[in-house]
Symmetry: C2
Subunit: 418 residues, 2 copies
């Protein structure tokens, strides 16, 4: 039995979501766009409209402002390139993102360079919040003509929830549209998307199917579609609609209740508490204040161990967690997010990230932390850095220079030591 | 019980495909890209690799030449814009397509105009085949620098199967890469994609799920990805892979046998035969030679009736067919394909299109043609054009000017009469 604790990378599809999709796999199979009168097309169209309403109302926007896509990557590319290509002929056109933005956003910006676009990345503080002064400075720079600001609403690696009202006010002052990457906050944090211009949301992190998401586009915003063809999605996204996926997405939204969130949050709080009791020499990454942190999210760097090694050992015991972001884990480089919040590379290699869901239990958390504590201890024994540190520390302790209490969590000390 | 005869717009997902997807909805949920060692990621990666092999081998290419996408629209946009954006700085850059290309291709070409690209559409003959002379003329025009030729391998509206070897030789002569839109031929007609440079294939027309497809990209071809971000799909398509969809797609390919095709083709041949017996005053659209026509495809224009009216009446009897293409049916304009093969607008409004599948039966075909014949008769009675024609024709018959045999299918006469 595997214990899956990586629910900010992907989630299990809820049984009721699968049931909701089923008739659209086998019965109502006609594309909803072909509503030239036949019943299947009409049924399909009604299901599509109803899904659009469910999702729009969840983020307080009009159904016609929702465009279904194939998920987070497409929605983010759509937001960035759609705005860029609508401003192709502007001079000094600049796109602004955060230094902790998602790779689909940062890579879209890089791709736009060959089309004559500039990009500016806003610094973040040690907890991952946008540096307001830096944003204002970039927005008011007369050498650039900002056409879009894109910020993560919730950060997958360190759990930071940005205050979108504040950022939105700032953008409105300079009359620049704002895109929020709300993949990780959608359904987990209340979102009033009507205060922003674009929002990326997706299905696969809320127990819905993979391969489906949406982009909220404020009415009247100048944007080009990136998947051309046909009349679907109010002419904003070509192609036969993935109706089973869209219906599943809406069902997942419908059943994602405050109870779902409370369960994951309580479990996260419990995990956090047990972690701090059982693990030594670590540093929480992202906000300490739980009110501005994704409710199901815990992340830390554990000193003197490699994230990869921890993961492998945990996997042998059938526990699944993440290190860095799933998207960049293959690269074996320090995560750009951990670098942006100022962590040195050696430290950030010890990063772990836990994403809890309604399917997890207290027992799983207890077992997980138990295993993690032994793995960390074993890895530190094997690690020369750790061994040396432990010896020195032991000597100091014997000399009376440190007490047991000192062997506790303290950010500044740990950073100096490493 | 609805009789679904629109299997070139969409198909019912096979039960074994649903079963194959199921573990990837609820159990193996980790993104395959996060293969940093944990078992779920490894299982996911293996499933992804295996699906890629199945699909690659079906069109005789290397697995690494297959990039999974969200389906036909994305693959077509990817092929067109990917090649265009890799040639952004070329002069007089021109993209060549067919006048019967799919809307996702034609609209991509239109969108590229603002980036300085030219487009040329190749004429087709009355059965929808590319005019070779016109293609050669455009390819050899020194005022243009062709960067891509895109042609439909199979045409959804009129069933034409193009000879890709012939077109490929011509393109190779001028050293221009060739993209084939193989959505409608994939699994239905043998495809050796290694003779072309790009091929669009999709899942939802072969009893696989919607929202997943692929683009074959020949090794070494200069192309840009259109969905940026991450390392997925050999860095050619960002975003968490839709693994349930991809696994379902591969399963659908696996079970799409020559038997599946034979069943649909036999049924189509039978339908064609009964249609010609029971319906009067029509014109087959697309190739008469069944060897160069999609095996499950039948299409015709029926004179003096509106396609829409036929559809509505058939729908009341729970029979589903199509008129024009599903994508353009909302537009209530004459289909661009029927216009391109030279049909006058009045005639093309009477178009119908049947797509058969392994789920259809001979009884359904019999019932369908029976209903169609009565509907056509009734509609013609109501139609003033038809009424007038029938009266005149009756008078001529009474005067001995026509015999019973004349009341049979004859293209040229019908075209003159209308």
């Amino acid at each position: 039995m595997t214990v899956y604790l990586d629910n900010n990378a992907s989630t299990a599809v809820d049984q009721s979501v699968i049931e909701a999709m089923m008739p659209f796999f086998t019965e109502t199979i006609s594309p909803p766009s072909s509503d030239y009168g036949h019943s299947f097309g009409v049924e399909a169209k009604q299901a599509l409209d109803s899904a659009r309403e469910t999702i729009a109302s969840k983020i307080n926007v009009d159904p016609l402002e929702i465009v279904f896509t194939s998920g987070q990557a497409e929605s983010n590319n759509f937001a960035i390139k759609g705005i860029a290509f609508a401003n192709l002929n502007k001079e000094n056109k600049t796109l602004i993102a955060s230094s902790v933005s998602h790779s689909t956003i940062l890579d879209s910006l890089k791709a736009l360079k060959s089309f004559g676009f500039n990009m500016k990345l806003i610094k973040v503080d040690s907890e991952g919040f946008i540096d307001r002064d830096h944003l204002r400075e970039v927005l008011s720079d007369n050498n650039h003509s900002p056409i879009l600001v894109s910020i993560p609403h919730g950060n997958v690696e360190i759990g930071t929830i940005e205050n979108i009202e504040e950022i939105s006010s700032l953008c409105q002052e300079y009359n620049v549209p704002l895109h929020i990457e709300a993949t990780y906050t959608f359904c987990k944090v209340p979102i009033d998307a009507s205060v922003v211009d674009l929002a990326t949301i997706t299905s696969h992190l809320i127990h819905g199917p993979k391969g489906v998401g949406a982009l909220y586009i404020k009415k009247g915003l100048r944007i080009k579609r990136i998947i051309d063809g046909g009349l679907q999605e109010n002419k904003m996204r070509g192609g036969t609609e993935n109706l089973p996926g869209i219906v599943g997405f809406a069902k997942a939204v419908e059943i994602y209740s405050s109870e779902t969130n409370k369960k994951a949050r309580d479990l996260r709080d419990y995990l956090w508490q047990v972690f701090e009791k059982k693990i030594t020499d670590y540093q929480i990454t992202g906000p300490i204040n739980k009110d501005v942190r994704l409710p199901n999210h815990f992340s830390a760097v554990i000193n003197y161990v490699e994230g990869e090694s921890m993961l492998l050992h945990l996997d042998l015991l059938n526990f699944m967690i993440a290190t860095g972001s799933a998207c960049s884990s293959k690269q074996l480089k320090a995560s750009h997010v951990l670098t942006a919040i100022g962590l040195p590379t050696e430290i950030s290699h010890g990063s772990i990230r836990i994403g809890l869901s309604k399917y997890n239990t207290k027992e799983e958390v207890d077992q997980f932390i138990g295993h993690l504590a032994s793995i960390v201890a074993r890895l530190r024994e094997m690690s020369p850095v750790s061994a040396e540190f432990m010896r020195e520390w032991q000597e100091m302790k014997e000399e009376g220079a440190v007490s047991e209490e000192d062997h506790h969590h303290d950010d500044s000390d740990e950073l100096e030591e490493s």
